[in-house]
Symmetry: C2
Subunit: 320 residues, 2 copies
């Protein structure tokens, strides 16, 4: 298919001139305008839909709120969102919030002032009360279970997924099971804590707050987990690690400290990132690229808020 | 410091109302407006600079062109760009091009139509002639050596860096040295090919086109490299792999095929990504997050185009 550069070449004008003709810019001579039009007809050029959409008062910009950009979890979500945006001729406005509430409100305000058509929130810091104040201005899509709320959502059942991971470790003979996570608060963190405590109750195991490891986001955070494990008189024999990259870090530092995996410590990762495959980490596959795609499609769908659950899959490898 | 939510709480109004007051929206009662203003004075609230900038006709949006989002190389560049954008109160408009020329032209057009204040191109597909047609509309910053061109650039000396890697392998006793790369064309690819051929000439070694492996972008691409190596009667004994993630893939598949690293094959990575540390890959450290930061700062600097070289560092580990 001919592109804008081919048209420019055929018409003997610059790309800028073609772009001006496409956008009905006034400063183009009638002669050049005609040459561009002839070239377009000759090679059956299909101009993109921007012009059409702009006339409808749409920006063709979708906002994406993400706490971090360069993290495998959010990277895969963004990949799915971006791939679908390209297909549908939208651009993304990226809001890296570092989980600062004010940044998230800025994103919501851009929706309010029609600077973006819709907003995807990959992970939020603002309360639902604040977010719901902005739903009148355009579609908002969350990546968490928001059934019953006035926004759309694509989600996995965090409670069930976490329970499943714990039960898998239990069935492998583990009694002292701990877990690592990034945030103490946050919807998903709370659901996981609830699943954990419920699991312990059912198994008649005591709750040991030492067995929960917070602030685990990156590879390096695995070091601190292992350091703490080494100081415990009765460390957990299995860990649910809610990020493969952290699991990879724990695995690497365990090797250095001669802790045998899975004999001394079983590790169950989360997400099934490429690193989990490389390092043979048993993990729960969460189809993040696919979730990203669905988040985008819901953002450009102007019908009523809807909710879709995505299912996870256990991938058995060598760390449990 | 108080944020917009604190103000809302103090004034007994919604966040939306605070936002409306900040943006001089007409539909706010005088009573509420006054309550918000009092709360702001009371806690010495500093409104952000958006309003000031908008009045100057700026969008506070910076465009970022990247072929892919979820790739470690571009992920780190984006991380640096995004961190600096947050600090300076800018948002990013992301253009994932998949190296399609038309997508890149769309980004240039957004600069032309003042929908963004500046454009950062992490890696381009368009010729410099096309890009230079758009410099009149706003700052354009490239991540390649663009000295002598009418755009700004932050770059590493690809020719010198590649020569350095080849010479290091040569000094370790290797004669049959190959390399892997993503694109056949592209400025950086051409400079690397030039450095390679020049090196061979100086060393009096024959040029063997089989020793160059194209289309190497992801971990999985390492499989194809190893499969091709296994079929060669006289394979290279050392490879410069211009991406750590590909080097990790080669390393992993070599282990499966019982090719000893570095005895049978020496591997020199590029970038010093976290994976290079995990897998003990000898590599050239390219400070991508820092380069991202500099790209952003150059984009918002409205002075004359400028150029800055960033230096690389050899990290010796266990694969050479």
């Amino acid at each position: 298919m001919a592109n804008i550069k081919d048209i420019a070449k055929m018409a003997g004008v610059s790309v800028t001139t073609v772009s001006r003709v496409l956008n009905n810019h006034p400063y183009v001579s009638e002669e050049k305008r005609e040459a561009v039009r002839s070239a377009m007809v000759e090679c059956n050029y299909q101009p993109n839909l921007n012009a059409v959409h702009l006339s409808k008062g749409e920006t063709l910009l979708i906002g994406v709120v993400t706490p971090f950009i360069n993290h495998p979890y959010f990277g895969q979500l963004l990949e799915g969102i971006a791939n679908e945006a390209v297909k549908n001729n939208y651009k993304l406005v990226l809001f890296q919030t570092n989980y600062e509430e004010e940044r998230e409100v800025e994103a919501l305000q851009m929706l309010q002032f029609k600077q973006i058509d819709a907003l995807i929130i990959c992970s939020r810091i603002c309360g639902m009360d604040i977010i719901e104040e902005f739903v009148a201005y355009g579609p908002i899509v969350l990546c968490e279970d928001a059934r019953g709320k006035n926004v759309s959502s694509i989600f996995i059942d965090q409670y069930q997924t976490f329970s499943k991971a714990l039960m898998y470790l239990h069935n492998k003979g583990h009694q002292r099971i701990g877990y690592s996570i990034f945030r103490k608060s946050g919807t998903n963190s709370k659901l996981r804590e609830k699943a954990y405590k419920e699991f312990l109750r059912e198994m008649n195991e005591p709750f040991n707050p030492e067995y929960i490891f917070y602030d685990c986001l990156k590879f390096e955070d695995g070091v601190h987990v292992v350091e703490r494990l080494l100081k415990m008189s009765s460390p957990p024999t299995a860990l649910v690690v809610t990020s493969d990259i952290v699991a990879a870090g724990i695995l690497t530092f365990c090797k250095e400290k001669e802790i045998q995996i899975p004999e001394d410590l079983a590790i169950m990762g989360f997400d099934n990132q490429p690193i989990a495959k490389i390092m043979h980490i048993t993990t729960l596959e969460i189809p993040l690229v696919e979730i990203g795609r669905k988040l985008f499609l819901q953002a450009i769908d102007n019908s009523e808020p809807s909710h879709e659950e995505v299912f996870v899959k256990l991938i058995e490898r060598e760390t449990v």
